[in-house]
């Protein structure tokens, strides 16, 4: 009584309704197309190798200790390791970055709406008041090598 054709028809109706009540905003398509221009970044990709959001023990421990929730992420590429701590604050995300394995000449933070040069004087880099959304880091070593972390959402 429940034929395959009936199922297909019902799904087709739902699909049509969906296109009306929940269309993908054109800006989403435009942003995705425009992203192609960012493709040729002459830098080695540093993959995300750990995110405490994926890691129940770390997250639970931090909460249990009654501290502010800190998200911890690690990226790696060749000799480079980048550890990132993200804390939520009223004024935006607070980022603490530690880079090991290479010596930095420059570091910048890229978000959806800004590019920010970070001070590499100390071993630890800080970025305050970061707008929630997507970010990545682009690093240049003293040897002139470039690394870019994969994009993440904070």
């Amino acid at each position: 009584m429940n034929s395959i054709r009936d199922d297909e028809e019902l799904l087709a109706r739902l699909r049509a309704i969906c296109a009306e009540v929940d269309p993908v905003p054109q800006t989403v398509y435009e942003a995705a197309r425009a992203a192609f221009a960012l493709r040729r970044l002459d830098a080695e990709l540093a993959d995300l190798v750990r995110d405490s959001l994926d890691d129940p023990v770390g997250a639970v421990t931090v909460r249990a200790a009654g501290l502010a929730e800190i998200r911890m992420l690690s990226f790696a590429a060749g000799p480079l390791a980048l550890d990132l701590q993200v804390t939520d604050r009223a004024e935006g995300r607070h980022l603490v970055i530690q880079v090991t394995g290479v010596e930095l000449r420059a570091a910048r933070l890229e978000t959806a709406d800004e590019i920010r040069e970070l001070d590499t004087e100390d071993g630890v880099l800080i970025a305050e008041r970061v707008t929630p959304g997507r970010i990545r880091f682009v690093l240049t070593t003293i040897d002139g090598l470039r690394y870019a972390t994969t994009w993440i959402l904070v």
Partner: protein, 198 residues
Amino acid sequence: MSESSFATGVLLKQASDGDQRAWDELVRRYTNLLWSVGRAHRLDTADIADVVQTTWLRLLENLDRIADPERLVGWLVTTSRRECLRTLRRSGREQPHSPDEGALDGPAMIEPLDAGLIREERDAELWAAFNRMTERCQRLLRVLMSMAPPPYEAVAAMLDMPVGSIGPTRMRCLTTLRKMLNESDGPPGARQDPEERR
């Protein structure tokens, strides 16, 4: 294998060689699917936009590393699902790794979209019935509603269900939906939850 997956492989290769039009075509084909993944995870519009864009940026980073273009759709769905879950956990709406499996069989928490846009009464009834379904059914059907219906392997990965159960669940959900529609046509009264528990 199939013609469309072959074409996907060609598009990937062309995009990897710098062809913007090939990239645009990939975006045109699969953005709707990625959007439905976000919606199936109950994210709001701004969060879904972030997840979709991040997923495309990830693909750009990995254009030269996608070994098997046949699995591109699965890769896209898996990548966006992971970002959806992180977004939910970050906002405290879902605890890390405490999947309350049974909850999927309960009433859905998906926020109804603006049904005022639906002109036909018959469609409004269908949409209202859809919104009364269990979360499992809503998630599954929402993804199947996207313009580029994904392979069952990708749907299974998204819903944490075995591939073999997608077809039967789809049929069960659609049968339930049809029953709900028939009931709302009939006299009001003893309405019971027609959804079978798994």
